[in-house]
């Protein structure tokens, strides 16, 4: 029974970091990072500034390549994929950037339509329908005609989220979705992320500093320290820390 469970568990792992090392010049960021993400799960990545949270996320989508170790998506090392295979993998992923990273000379609707217009054979009306659907899903149905410079930071996050969802990805990567937002907008973004996690059958990795987001959105949390996963626990346990470093990090936000 235990072997069967282990095999099932292994099949269920969609993203695996195995002893990953990454340095920039003489500055070592990841130093033997290992953790797994299960299919359909939402994993939060927490840690102090400069501990390599965003770097970790960028390895999953092939924006960075590890110095050693393996970053596997569905059992294949991302660094070993050919350009065509990497492109195919990326088409099944969505990435929500910290600042939205919207193309500033395209309207919101054009930003959303871009991946569909470039990578699919959908007709213009089908693309238009899909864009309207996703804008409605992130609760900004009327923002399509605006330029990124004309919308607020919170709306940019929503548009970034809608763009990541436009291709109905299997894996969604969030890079600090709450950064620079006030608490009220942060809460609405967190609720939206949870709603997406509940309604889509997608796996998600969320890099975040704020406990509120982790608590609302994530099923499990990895805490990075010294380039390694110091703690990997279900969110409830994570918020009742026993490790001294984690107690220190969470401070008064930890549950007793």
């Amino acid at each position: 029974m235990s072997t069967e469970t282990e095999n099932q568990g292994a099949d269920d792992v969609i993203i695996r970091f195995e002893d990953v090392h990454k340095s920039f010049g003489s500055h070592r960021i990841l130093n033997g990072l290992s953790f797994d993400v299960r299919r359909g799960g939402v994993l939060g990545i927490m840690g102090g500034s400069g501990t390599g949270k965003s770097v970790t996320l960028r390895h999953v989508i092939g924006l960075l390549t590890q110095d050693s170790g393996r970053v596997e998506v569905e059992g294949r090392n991302v660094a070993d994929l050919s350009p065509g295979e990497l492109q195919a993998l990326r088409k099944r992923m969505g990435f929500v950037f910290q600042e939205g990273a919207l193309i500033n000379w395209l309207t919101v609707a054009e930003n959303l339509a871009l991946p569909l217009a470039e990578n699919t054979s959908l007709s213009a009306s089908e693309i238009e329908d899909r864009v309207a659907e996703k804008l409605a899903q992130v609760h900004i149905p009327d923002a399509g005609g605006k330029l990124p410079s004309e919308i607020s930071g919170g709306m940019k996050k929503r548009v970034g989220l809608a763009r990541a969802l436009i291709t109905d990805p299997d894996i969604i990567l969030y890079d600090e979705p709450n950064a620079g937002l006030d608490p009220e907008i942060s809460r609405s973004i967190n609720e939206l992320m949870r709603e997406i996690a509940d309604t889509h059958d997608a796996t998600a990795l969320v890099v975040e500093h704020r406990i509120g987001c982790i608590e609302t959105v994530c099923d499990e949390v990895v805490f990075l320290h010294g380039g390694k996963a110091l703690v990997h626990q279900p969110t409830d346990e994570f918020l009742r820390p026993t490790h001294p470093r984690l107690v220190e990090f969470l401070g008064p936000e930890a549950r007793s």
């Binding site: 088409k91 990273a101 500033n104 871009l114 991946p115 990578n119």
Partner: protein, 302 residues
């Protein structure tokens, strides 16, 4: 220590053996330090040279990648036309102003010398030939490098530092096809058009000087200028100078766009990185245009 003495020992021995009487006593001691400083300087220069070669290689690579994606241009027509407007219409007044004064300068400088030989009535020929052959393409290229080239580098540099290029990458959108091809094509098209306008306004400017300063009448000036711009035997009645000038400006447009786009795409490190990319784009574009101008002139007029 062994390594140090094996490297610097021969220098000290050489200094000892060849130490002339007039040389100061500290020379043998200073020689190893001087050798080390020289070695560091050479290594620094080699590193800089290697970076320059890498940068040239990246630009040639971008030019080849863009040429191989030229068939994507019909899909990018909207952005091609937008760039055409940005580079053409928005810079038109600068090109016209600079071109006008360039023609006036050529007329004034040359006219004063011609007047010494009583040949000032030939000023139209000289202004027309200078503008079409050399001044028009060159001045247009400099204006485009300073305006459109810097804008391209700043725009793409800002996209690079604000993760927009990474966003394109994760969406599997080819940035060369999406961003670079419309920009290079538009500049290669608009540069010859602006050159024709620069040539025209320069010749008109030369006419103002000829009539007001050199005492040459408009009919005489225009007649000699038009004569210089006609090749009655050709299929299209224009001389080689005009074609050569237009070919030059076509090439200059491509050079400026490739260098500016490559500089922008390479930008890293926030606003400072964008500033550096922009300044590098303008500096390198002007250098490349001048070098290419020499070789094109050699090729076309040898």
């Amino acid at each position: 220590m062994d390594l140090l003495s094996s490297v610097f020992g021969p220098f000290a021995a050489l200094a000892d053996s060849a130490h002339p009487e007039w040389a100061p006593g500290w020379l043998p001691d200073a020689l190893p330090l001087m050798a080390a400083a020289s070695a560091l300087y050479v290594a620094w220069q080699i590193d800089g040279f290697r970076q320059t070669l890498a940068s040239i290689g990246a630009r040639i690579d971008l030019a080849i990648a863009s040429a191989s994606r030229l068939h994507h241009l019909p899909r990018r027509l909207r952005w091609f036309l937008d760039q055409l407007f940005q580079a053409g219409v928005k810079n038109l007044h600068v090109v016209l102003l600079v071109g006008l004064f360039m023609g006036m300068i050529v007329a004034l400088q040359t006219g004063i010398e011609l007047a010494k030989f009583g040949q000032e009535d030939q000023i139209g020929t000289i202004v027309a030939a200078s503008m079409t052959r050399e001044m028009g393409p060159f001045i247009t290229a400099i204006v485009l490098a300073a305006t459109t080239g810097s804008a391209l580098a700043a725009e793409l540099g800002t996209m690079s530092v604000s993760d927009e290029l990474s966003a394109l990458e994760v969406m599997s959108i080819d940035r060369t096809s999406f961003l670079v091809v419309p920009r290079i094509s538009s500049l290669m098209v608009i540069a010859p058009v602006l050159t024709v306008l620069c040539d025209t306004i320069g010749i008109i400017g030369g006419g103002f000087v000829a009539t007001s300063q050199l005492g040459v009448g408009w009919p005489q000036y225009t007649s000699t200028a038009f004569d210089a711009l006609q090749d009655k035997g050709g299929l299209i009645p224009l001389p080689m100078d005009v074609y050569a000038g237009l070919l030059k400006s076509f090439v200059f447009g491509g050079i400026i766009a490739v260098i500016s786009c490559a500089s922008g795409l390479e930008a890293r490190g926030g606003a400072l990185g964008v500033g550096r990319a922009t300044s590098r784009a303008v500096r390198d574009s002007i250098i490349a245009v001048i070098v290419a101008n020499y070789f094109l002139t050699w090729f076309l007029y040898r």
